[in-house]
Subunit: 357 residues, 2 copies
């Protein structure tokens, strides 16, 4: 009797829990052949479309009798891709997928299609570093802010060993989490370090969308707050030969502005598909008359990466021409692909192999 | 001429960037009097409704001529609340708000209404600990998994100082990030430690939704993988007097199952609004005949918390009666409020003050 009573209460409680919720759905489901099934539950939607950076155009989804819309996408090239659902006229992230693109202006989900052999950005059976979420005081902005700090596997906090540091900046509406959540920067570093292809290093991922002056104030913030915080709280090598800066899109423009005006502080400057249509870039470089020999001797590596389908491709070619014209040694890294985080992971992989060598 | 050309290219590039995107919208905007304006952009929606855990029913939003829907909510009691938009029939997170409820089955945003004096869960001007994202190997599950580890301000990694540990488990469809992203567990700890109200401790937040057997396999995982990983990688006190377990909802049920069957390992068991309609709970406790005196002497604190509006309130009262009937000393912590993360923050605050004293 007691048992029956218990089972009845169980059912009542379970019902109360589940009644509030849509059915449990598996989405995205990545199949062994790299095809993917996406699913979305709605009884009332008229039309549901899948949008994804692996698709040239949206794909219509079909509804079954239980209200689950789905579509199976043919095999996709292994990578991590953003996607979303367009439900009637509303774009949204996949409610059943925990993995979200960290961004301030949209909510998209990400799907990871593993390779037949593990990719450089995949979770592999190697020693893992860790990502720490840190608060720090910004005197520049008069507030407390957050940054992410990757420390490598077997990190020695004692100070006996000192590490080089890469400052890594996200794109325009991204956040301090985008390089790890979408770019898998920590796993790329883990894998390259395990293979001996990159040096153990600390990677600092600050939040670059400083308002109201995202360019000039962020430069101050990096130089006056972020670098001193890292130097004070981590066992790091503080000379320019052990300090690198890299960034994507708006962060690629910030990288050029910060790096090239502080070549005594950074020997490595790696700009990914930089967005340079900014007042700060113009102020710094339109009538720039650099001591090219000195800068070339200070820099161990200056690269600009871009994909040939990137909407900034022509702009980046002009950036390259500008720096070459002024006698600055710059290494172009031009690949296929667009202004995407698939490309970002490639850029970072290439960069990490070349730093601090 | 060169300058004009530059400005023209700037405009073309800016246009290319912005054309793809909806207008920049400030949402949520929390006003000084604790009223809040929510905004959502859609030219095509027929109806947009705000849903929030600070509202008894959804609030209709109004569209202006530019396609921005908005509603201003009268002053709200300072706290952190989940909310979402219902656009026609589609529920979604606020596209303009970076702060997302970490959950596997829905996407909601969170809004933080600060108090006139800082709340215990707010970012205050005190020393901050850090949250680390760690991978570990689970022998139980044969895979690599992720946990979050909070280390307190001025954490000494050298091993000279050893810390007590709280294992803190999320709710049923939450993730290992929910306690920090929604519960601000790290800030509650920072603030209580700064005031001398809690001992410096390590807080371990594992991922509890172990599949296919979320109850029994998670118990094994905690005992055989998670605790050994922490003991091996952090300077911790490993006796039961320095080990606590707490959790919410399904995690509250897991807390009872793990804690009460391992009273030689945990002297502190704090269960928040436990969901106990599970086979594991029934197996462990329906015909439980405990050595109550021994257990009471092993436990320094055993509490069960619940809100009087919680849908599990009646169930929790039965749990309390069950334990009392078996002679186990349990301290009820009954407050107002429902099965919410607003309540969770209260439960955790109370717990942290009582641990390791």
């Amino acid at each position: 009797m007691k048992r029956l009573y218990f089972i009845l209460s169980m059912l009542i409680i379970l019902n109360a829990v589940t009644a509030q919720r849509p059915p449990l759905i598996n989405s995205p489901e990545v199949h062994p052949d790299h095809s993917i099934t996406f699913r979305y539950f709605s009884r009332s939607a008229q039309k549901v479309t899948l949008r994804g950076e692996f698709l040239p155009v949206g794909l219509s989804m079909e509804k079954d009798t239980s209200g689950v819309w789905s579509v199976k996408v043919p095999p996709v090239n292994p990578d991590i891709y953003p996607y979303s659902f367009l439900v009637d006229s509303v774009e949204l992230a996949d409610p059943n997928n925990t993995y979200i693109f960290a961004n301030e202006r949209f909510k998209r989900s990400i799907v990871d299609i593993p390779g037949n052999t593990p990719l450089m950005h995949s979770l592999q059976n190697v020693p893992h570093g860790k990502i720490s979420y840190r608060y720090y005081h910004s005197a520049t902005l008069g507030t407390t802010r957050r940054m992410l700090v990757y420390t490598p596997p077997d990190f020695d906090a004692s100070g006996k060993l000192k590490y080089p540091v890469l400052y890594l900046i996200h794109g325009g509406s991204d956040t301090e989490e985008t390089w790890t959540r979408v770019g898998n920067a920590h796993l790329i570093a883990d894998n390259l370090i395990a293979k001996g292809l990159a040096k153990p290093m600390i990677i600092v991922m600050p939040y670059g969308n400083v308002r109201p002056k995202p360019m000039s104030d962020f430069t101050k913030e990096v130089m006056n707050d972020i670098i001193p915080f890292i130097d004070a709280n981590y066992p790091v090598l503080t000379d320019s030969r052990n300090r690198a800066i890299a960034g994507f899109s708006v962060g690629g423009g910030q990288t050029l502005n910060i790096g090239l005006t502080n070549t005594d502080q950074f020997s490595y400057i790696c700009s990914y598909a930089p967005f340079t249509a900014t007042e700060e870039f113009q102020r710094n470089f339109s009538s720039w008359n650099p001591a090219a020999d000195k800068i070339n001797s200070q820099l161990k590596l200056f690269t600009i990466s871009v994909g040939t389908e990137d909407f900034l491709y022509e702009s980046v070619k002009k950036n390259l021409a500008l720096f070459e014209e002024r006698g600055i040694r710059v290494k172009p890294y031009i690949v296929s692909g667009g202004h995407t985080w698939m490309n970002c992971k490639q850029y970072l992989t290439t960069t990490l192999k070349e730093l601090f060598k």
